[in-house]
Structure formats: structure tokens, C-alpha cells
Amino acid sequence: MESIGVLMACPMSSYLEQELDKRFKLFRFWNVPQKNEFLNQHANSIRAVVGNAFAGADAELIDSLPKLEIVSSFSVGLDKIDLNKCKDKGIRVTNTPDVLTEDVADLAIGLMLAVLRRICECDRYVRKGLWKSGDFKLTSKFSGKSVGIIGLGRIGLAIAKRAEAFGCPISYYTRSEKPNTNYKYYPSVVELASNCQILVVACALTPETRHIVNREVMEALGSKGILINIGRGPHVDEKELVSALLEGRLGGAGLDVFENEPEVPEQLFGLENVVLLPHVGSGTEETRKAMADLVLGNLEAHFLNKPLLTPVV
């Protein structure tokens, strides 16, 4: 397989790079100064693209690679890949489901605790030496708060399981009610937001779910409500979120994702009721290795004409 060209869209895992280098002819797209020239020269040898949540395969890239057979994404979300185009052209697409579910759910709970109990703010308070001048104020209890989940897929269910161990009542919104669950269903996000204290976004990003958390939803969540986003930045109308937080119309937010990563609205930097993370939902050594192994496994299966491990298209 050493002659098969694999185009890696952006840096994502040094272990994955190393292993791809051993098995394929790896091109690092981010190191290429003249993209068009490069594509003209190598288009005929590139049969696979490896992408992730930041860079994948859009229509333009797919069109410029006539020999492309498979896009293997180092992510569970596929919003950076033009799935319809892949379907039309018979290009296979794989992702890395399951292996990152627990990490993302763990971080969602970590964000809830950090926002309600002001853990990051406490840490700043101690490091600045402020404790000597007085005690830190009271914070909000997490156990028993009602948690509303948008999207009850693998990640949503894993969040629900964890929050239940804290005695939190769980409710959810999905397009249609799920059978086999006792969690309370609401047929709209606004109703869900009106009936929970913590709202967490855990659905896939599609044209329908873009800005699924808009001004109306934030109003429904209210000035004591907490928004947690471990999905994708564009799930939330970020401009509205910033003004809701600045004006005290929303109680707080824990955000792992943003609309224009790595740009984060600077107005949020001074707020103590927000926790801001650089998209690290799946960011653990253990999980990134498992994700890399899944990307490699899918590529090898494809080129050996075996069934794909985690096909989407």
C-alpha cells in the first residue's frame, strides 16, 4: 500500500501521522504552500483523505481529486465533509464513533461542575492570592439540577447516565421521541429549555441543527440557566449567546466549541460564569490513539477490499 497517496487535511495526531507514513504515501496538506499546483501534480495518486472536525473534504477538494475513493475522518462529526457529494461519486466515508463518546460525556459533566461550582474562577482566585483578603462566595449546587439534552444519541445517553448518578432529572429533545427510555421528552428545544436548569447540546451539526440554540431558546433557559456546548460551535447563535451572557439574561455557559475556531469572542474572557475550552472534547491520550487506530483500520480495510469498520457512506 506504500504507493497509495493519502492526503491529511490538517495536523491532528502525531501518532496517526507516523503510522500513516509507515503504510502509505502521506501528504501533509497544511505544509503545502501552493495548494492548486500541488493538487495538479498529485491528484492522480491521492486515493484517500484523512480529515477531522477542523478540516475535511469539501466539494472543491473532492472535485479536484478524481481518484479519491475514501474519506476517513478523525472525528465523530462529519460537518466538514460534503456527504452528498461523496454519495454521488461513490466515495466511502468513515468516522470514529463510540471511542470518543465517554470522553465527550465526561467533559460535558466537567463543564457543568466547573460552571456551577466556579472551579476555574476559584483556581484563578487562589492563584492571584485573593483568598487572604476574604472567602470566596457561595456557588451553586450541581446534584439534583435538571438536565435537558439536545440529541439523545450515543453521547447524549452517556451524559444522561452520568448526570443521573448526581441525582439529576433528565429530559431531552430529538426530532422524534425515542422508544425504550424513561427520560422526559419535549417536542421542541424551547420547551426543553423552559423545563431544565442545564441545557446541553449533544446532537450532530446539520443544516437543520445550525443555530438550534437561538435567542428564543436562551430566553427560555433564563437568567439562572446554564448552557453547555460540546457539540459544534454553529449549533449556537454565538452573537446572541455573548449578548445574553453580557446582559445577564443567561446564567452561565460551558463551551468546548465555537463558531469560528480557534477564534473565541473576547468579550467572554472577562466573565466568571463561563468556562472556555479549546475543543478538547475527545482530547485524551487514550481516546486519540483509539481514534487514530480506527482511521488506520478503515483505510487498510478499504484498500484490502474488506468491510469498513465504521462506515457512514
Partner: protein, 328 residues
């Protein structure tokens, strides 16, 4: 029956004396309400002329927070029968002396347990997933410049050793099981009906754990229970979470182990000389530091007020007390 005669004298039954024992750092917000129910003696209010004479007959004390109760304190109240405590720990009481004098002592019981357990889990996720460090990174504007933030470590699958499986420890175990952690513990004795592996000493627990969570009470036996040996046993990737008391840990050793990278990280809500926190910790990204606030939510204090109000009433009506310390 001299003592029962004394109890029925108007001085003690009608006035229902209560001593309000607190160090000046604690507020007195619950005082007005108490004064509607009891004749409250406040030793910090020296203008009260009856303070000294009434101190001799007072039978019950409300002790605020971790205000020390020493044998000198007890000498001032020779008829004391009961101390209603408001702290989860009891290291500020001279328990041997209380026992000798036949004084019953209560604690905050379960009032804080959910909040402390929540906070312990919050600190653990923060240390493993580097939440506070990542938040600092974003707020410093480093993301667009430096790009990738270093990877964290997975919570699931970690072997968590709980030191003290009481009302807080058992709540921590229940929460962490949902994250897929495996739980083991050490405590004074093995608990019946507990599915977790018991280790008879903390050293064995540390050898078999990725994370140690300290949530036991501070006693002579548990003072510096985590020192050089236990930290070495825990190892380079190991994490210490302390929501118990600062003096459970040999703080100087812990700081050295963290600085030299000989343990993986620490989440600390308590310290040996609060509010002093060793400055060396301020520059470390693998430490998460909070100012002894694991208990501090409005819900905690509501539950606590309910409990101590109940205990004071129970004492005067000869009913059993709640959250009473059992003498060994």
C-alpha cells in the same frame, strides 16, 4: 436526684440557655433567629453582664464552623452536656476531653455530603482533562497562536482509591461508577455490604490506584496520611484529590512531588495553613486549587441550619440527636 432538680429549676428550663461559640472570622447571621427561641450567650459580646454567671449553668453549645473547643473552653462551661457542631469534620474538638466529661457532640452529618462529593468529582475531571488550564489557555488568547492544547487523560477506566468511605466517600463512589471508574477504598474498618475492594492501609490502596481521593476526617491517625511513601506508591501518573482537611497531606512533600513531576497532578480544596497556599503551586498547570469551598452552596447551609435547629430542640426535649459522634 440533684441533677434532675437542677434541670427543673426555672433558670434552666424557662430560659433555655444556649452558648453561641464561634471564632470572630465566622458571621452571626443565624443569631437573630436563635435569639427568638433561646437565651443566647455570645462570648464575643462582652457587654452582656450575665455572660459569666450564666456560663456556669449552660448545658448546650452551638459551635460554628471549625472554631476550636479545647479543655480550656470546656472549663468555662462546667455543666455542658452537648455540643451541636456545624462542621463535617471534628478535628477542632478535643474529643477525648468531651468524652471524659460525658459531653455529646454532633457534626454537620450529611448536610454537605452531596456538594463535597460533586466538588471532588469536579476537581478530578478538571485535573485529568486539564479544564482550568485549558480555560486559562483560551482566555490568554493562546489558542489561535499556539494551536493545539496538550491532551488530557481519560476519566473512564481509572482506578480510584477512596480514603474514608463515609457519607462523602460513598457518594463520590456512586458518581464515579457512572464514569466507568473502578473503585477501591480504605477506612478504619471494612464496610459490610459494599461491593468495592477494601485495602487495610493507604499504602496498598495507593499502589493499586491511579487516583487517590481524600475524604476522611482528620484525626491523630490520619494526620499526614499522605506523605512521601504514599506519593511514591501512587506514582508518576497518579493524581491526589483532597476535599478532606489540609493536614491529611504532608503539603511540603506534595509540592515537591508535583514540581518534580513525580506525581501526575493534584486537585486541592484544603491546605495545611489556610488561607495560605504554597506559592510554588501557582505556576503549575497540573494543579487545580480552590479556596476550601467544596461545601459552600446555599443548599448546604439550608440543610445545615435545619439539622442544628433540630438538634438543639431535640436536646431540650430529650429526643435522640442526629449526626452524633460515636465514641470508640
Amino acid at each position: 436526684m440533684a441533677s434532675s432538680d437542677q434541670h427543673q429549676s426555672p433558670e434552666t428550663t424557662d430560659l433555655r440557655l444556649l452558648i453561641f461559640h464561634r471564632s470572630p472570622k465566622y458571621g452571626n447571621t443565624c443569631l437573630p433567629k436563635l435569639k427568638t427561641l433561646y437565651r443566647v450567650l455570645d462570648p464575643l459580646d462582652e457587654s452582656d453582664p450575665s455572660l459569666l454567671p450564666l456560663s456556669r449553668s449552660v448545658r448546650i453549645m452551638l459551635c460554628i464552623g471549625s472554631t476550636p473547643v479545647t479543655s480550656d473552653t470546656l472549663d468555662k462551661y462546667p455543666n455542658l452536656e452537648c455540643i451541636v457542631g456545624t462542621s463535617a469534620g471534628f478535628d477542632h474538638f478535643d474529643l477525648a476531653e468531651c468524652r471524659r466529661r460525658g459531653i455529646r457532640v454532633t457534626t454537620a452529618g450529611d448536610s454537605f455530603s452531596d456538594n463535597v462529593a460533586d466538588f471532588a468529582v469536579g476537581l478530578l475531571i478538571d485535573v485529568l482533562r486539564r479544564v482550568s488550564a485549558a480555560d486559562r489557555f483560551v482566555r490568554a488568547g493562546s489558542w489561535p497562536i499556539k494551536g493545539k492544547f496538550p491532551l488530557g487523560s481519560k476519566v473512564g477506566g481509572k482506578r480510584v482509591g477512596i480514603v474514608g468511605l463515609g457519607s462523602i466517600g460513598s457518594r463520590i463512589s456512586k458518581r464515579l461508577e457512572a464514569f466507568g471508574c473502578s473503585i477501591a477504598y480504605t477506612s478504619k474498618r471494612m464496610k459490610p455490604n459494599v461491593p468495592f475492594r477494601f485495602h487495610s492501609n493507604i499504602h496498598d490502596l495507593a499502589i493499586n490506584s491511579d487516583v487517590l481521593i481524600l475524604c476522611c476526617s482528620l484525626t491523630k491517625e490520619t494526620h499526614h496520611i499522605v506523605g512521601k511513601e504514599v506519593l511514591t506508591a501512587l506514582g508518576q501518573e497518579g493524581v491526589v484529590i483532597n476535599v478532606g482537611r489540609g493536614a491529611l497531606v504532608d503539603e511540603k512533600e506534595l509540592v515537591q512531588f508535583l514540581k518534580r513531576g513525580e506525581i501526575g497532578g493534584a486537585g486541592l480544596d484544603v491546605y495545611e495553613n489556610e488561607p495560605y497556599v504554597p506559592k510554588e503551586l501557582f505556576v503549575l498547570d497540573n494543579a487545580v486549587l480552590s479556596p476550601h469551598i467544596a461545601v459552600s452552596t446555599p443548599e448546604s447551609f439550608e440543610a445545615l441550619e435545619e439539622l442544628f435547629t433540630y438538634n438543639i430542640q431535640a436536646f431540650f426535649s430529650n429526643k435522640p440527636l442526629q449526626a452524633q459522634i460515636e465514641y470508640d
